[in-house]
Amino acid sequence: MARTISYREAINEALTQEMERDESVIVMGEDNAGGAGDDAWGGVVGVTKGLFHKFPGRVLDTPISESAFVGAAIGAATRGQRPVAELVFIDFMGVCFDQIFNQAAKFRYMFGGNARTPVVIRTMYGAGLRAAAQHSQCLYPIFTHIPGLKVVVPSNPYEAKGLLIQAIRDDDPVIFCEHKALYDTSGDVPEDSYAIPFGEANVVRDGGDVTIVAIGRMVAVAEEAAKELAASEIEAEIIDPRTTSPLDTETILESVGNTGRLVVVDEASPRCNLATDISALVAKEGFGSLRAPIEMVTPPHTPVPFSDALEDLYIPDAQKVLNAAKAVVEYRR
C-alpha cells in the first residue's frame, strides 16, 4: 500500500478499473478524447488521458453543449449504461442545471420508484488558481440542497479513488466534486480496487477539545491548524464528511458530544452553505452538549477575486481556523 500517486492519477485509476470491470461504464466530456478521435488532452485537466485508446468507443468527445451531453449521460443511464460525464468546471452548472436537478435528481421520486439513473457527473471546483469569479466557485451546497442527488467531495487521492468507484457503482445520480488545487497533490493509494461507502465520515484526527468539520480541500487546512493548536495543548478532532449528501450526522454529533465545541470550515460562499447546514444540525440535535458558540470559517459573501493578493485573503486558511478554534475553546458564557 506504500504506493504514492496524485489525486489526478487516482481518479484516472478509478475510471480505468471500473471501465475494465463493467463495460456499461462510459466516459464523456469536452476533449475527453481530444479533437474527436485523438487522445490529445484527456479533458482540460488531463484526468481521462489514456482511456480513449484503452476503451474503444467508450470515451466520447462532446461539442460545448453541456445541457445536451449531461442530459445524454442521464438518458443513457436510464437505459443500462453507467455514464461518467465531465462538466469541466462546476461553475458551468448554470448552463445544464435543469438536466441535473429537475431530470436526473427527480426521476425516481416522480416516477414512483420506477427509475434508476446511475450517472456520475465529475466536476472541478474551488479557488486558489487565480481563475477568477467564473472558474473558482464551490457550489456543492447547491447540489446538496437538491433531494435526489448525492454529492461527493474527496479531500485526497485515497478518498478520490475509493469514492469515485463507489459513485460509479451507485445507482443514484452522483455529483463528484474534485478540487482543482488538489490534482497535483499526492498520497498513498492502494493499487487494488476499493469502494468507500457514502455517508460515512472519516475521522482524520482524534481530539477531545474541539470538533472541526472540514470539507474537501479544507481538510488539509484544518490539519495544518490542528498541528498548531496542539502546540497550544488544544487537541482538535477533525472530521471529513467525504459526502455532503448523504451526510454522516452521527459521527459529527458524537464528536461534538465529546468536545462540546464545533468549528465548521467550508470554502463555499457563506450563505446557505455546508457550514450553516452542519451548524444548524448541531444547534438542533447536539445543543445539550454545546459549550460554546459554533464558529464557521468561510470566505466572505463576495465572488472570487482574481488578483492573488485578494484570492489569498478570500480562501479560508489555517490561521482563521486556528483563531476560530481558540475562540470556542476559550469561550466562557
Binding site: 425516481r108 414512483g112 420506477n114 451507485d170
Partner: protein, 318 residues
C-alpha cells in the same frame, strides 16, 4: 399492415377518449394540478410510435398522455396517476406532467419545455453502444423548438451520429403565443439543415403522412444513417391547459375540431380503401369507451398514497 392500422386506430381513439374524459372530469374539480390535453394531435404519437418496439425509448412533453398511450403505458394506471392515486403509474407521486413507464421505454412526460431532447440523445447512444438496433424519439412542441436544450441536442445527435428522431409538434401555439411569431424561420424543419440532418414537414391530421415520414426516419436511424427532424403540423382542440381561457384563438379551436380530425380522416380513408371495415372501427370505439369508463371508476375508487409513501423513492440506496 391491417394489424398495424387497427392498432393505430385503437391508439388514436384511446387517446381521444382519454383526453375528452379527462377534460370533463377536470371540469368537476376532482382532478388536481396542471393537465395539458393532446386531443387533436393523436396522429403524431400514433404515427411515430407504430414503428417502435421495446428497444426504443421516447421522451415526451408536458402534453404527454398521447405519447404514453401510444408507447403502451397502461391506461388505467395513467388515469389513476392523474387522480393522484397509489395505483397510478407513479404511485401518485408524479401526476399528469410526469407519467412515465421506463419498462415500456417511455421516459416520462416532462414539466420542463425542452427537457426531453437531451435525454433522448442518451437513450439513442445507449442503443448504439449496446448494438440493439433501438432508436430514441424526442417529441417536443413548437415552443420547445426555441429552447437551447433542444437545439443543442439536434447538433449532438448529428455529431454523434445517433439513431434518433426529433418530432416537432407544431400545434400553432406555445400557451397563447403563436408559433408564426416565436419561430424566426418559416418552419421548424428549416432548422434541420443547420444541424446536419434531414428536415421534413407533415400534415399532422393525416396519420398516413406521419406514419410514412416516421417510418423512413426510423429505418434510416436503425440502419446507422443518423437522426431526422420531423415537423408535424396541427392544432390542439382544448386550451393550453385545463381550466384556462383561449380567447386568443376563439373560433379556431372549435373550427379545427369540426373540420380537422385525424380520426375522421383515418376512418374515411381505411373504409374507402377497404383496408378496415367500419364495424371493426366501431368495435374498437366501443371497447375503448369501456376501458376509459373502467379506468375512471377504478381511479376514483383507488386509495391515495399515505404518510409511509412520502419519503420513499428518493434514492435507490440511502
Amino acid at each position: 399492415m391491417t394489424d398495424t392500422l387497427r392498432e393505430a386506430y385503437r391508439v388514436m381513439r384511446t387517446i381521444r377518449a382519454f383526453e375528452e374524459r379527462v377534460h370533463d372530469e377536470f371540469a368537476t374539480g376532482e382532478i388536481p394540478g396542471f393537465v395539458h390535453l393532446y386531443a387533436g394531435e393523436e396522429a403524431s404519437a400514433a404515427g411515430v410510435c407504430a414503428h417502435l418496439d421495446d428497444r426504443d425509448a421516447i421522451a415526451s412533453t408536458h402534453r404527454g398522455h398521447g405519447h404514453c398511450i401510444a408507447k403502451g403505458v397502461d391506461v388505467k394506471a395513467m388515469m389513476a396517476e392523474i387522480y393522484g392515486r397509489k395505483t397510478g403509474s407513479c404511485r401518485g407521486k408524479g401526476g399528469s406532467m410526469h407519467i412515465a413507464d421506463l419498462s415500456k421505454g417511455m421516459l416520462g412526460a416532462n414539466g420542463i419545455v425542452g427537457g426531453g431532447p437531451p435525454l433522448i440523445c442518451g437513450t439513442a447512444l445507449a442503443a448504439k453502444q449496446q448494438n440493439t438496433g433501438g432508436v430514441g424519439v424526442a417529441f417536443f412542441g413548437d415552443g420547445a423548438g426555441n429552447r437551447g436544450t433542444t437545439l443543442e441536442a439536434l447538433n449532438l445527435a448529428s455529431v454523434w451520429d445517433l439513431p434518433a428522431l426529433f418530432i416537432a409538434e407544431d400545434n400553432g401555439y406555445a400557451e397563447a403565443t403563436s408559433s408564426t411569431w416565436s419561430v424566426a424561420s418559416d418552419t421548424i424543419a428549416d432548422r434541420a439543415a443547420g444541424f446536419g440532418m434531414p428536415g421534413v414537414i407533415v400534415d399532422g391530421f393525416d396519420f398516413f403522412a406521419v406514419h410514412e415520414a416516421a417510418g423512413e426516419a426510423v429505418e434510416r436511424a436503425r440502419g446507422g444513417g443518423g437522426p431526422t427532424l420531423i415537423e408535424v403540423k396541427f392544432t390542439r382542440y382544448f386550451g393550453h391547459f385545463e381550466g384556462v381561457q383561449q380567447t386568443y384563438r376563439a373560433g379556431e379551436a372549435a373550427d379545427a375540431r369540426e373540420n380537422l380530425d385525424c380520426l375522421k380522416r383515418f376512418r374515411e380513408r381505411v373504409t374507402d380503401s377497404g383496408e378496415l371495415p367500419g364495424p371493426v372501427l366501431d368495435d374498437i370505439d366501443a371497447e375503448v369507451a369501456k376501458l376509459i369508463e373502467a379506468a375512471v371508476s377504478e381511479a376514483k375508487a383507488a386509495p391515495k398514497p399515505t404518510k409511509e409513501d412520502l419519503e420513499t423513492d428518493v434514492y435507490v440506496s440511502y
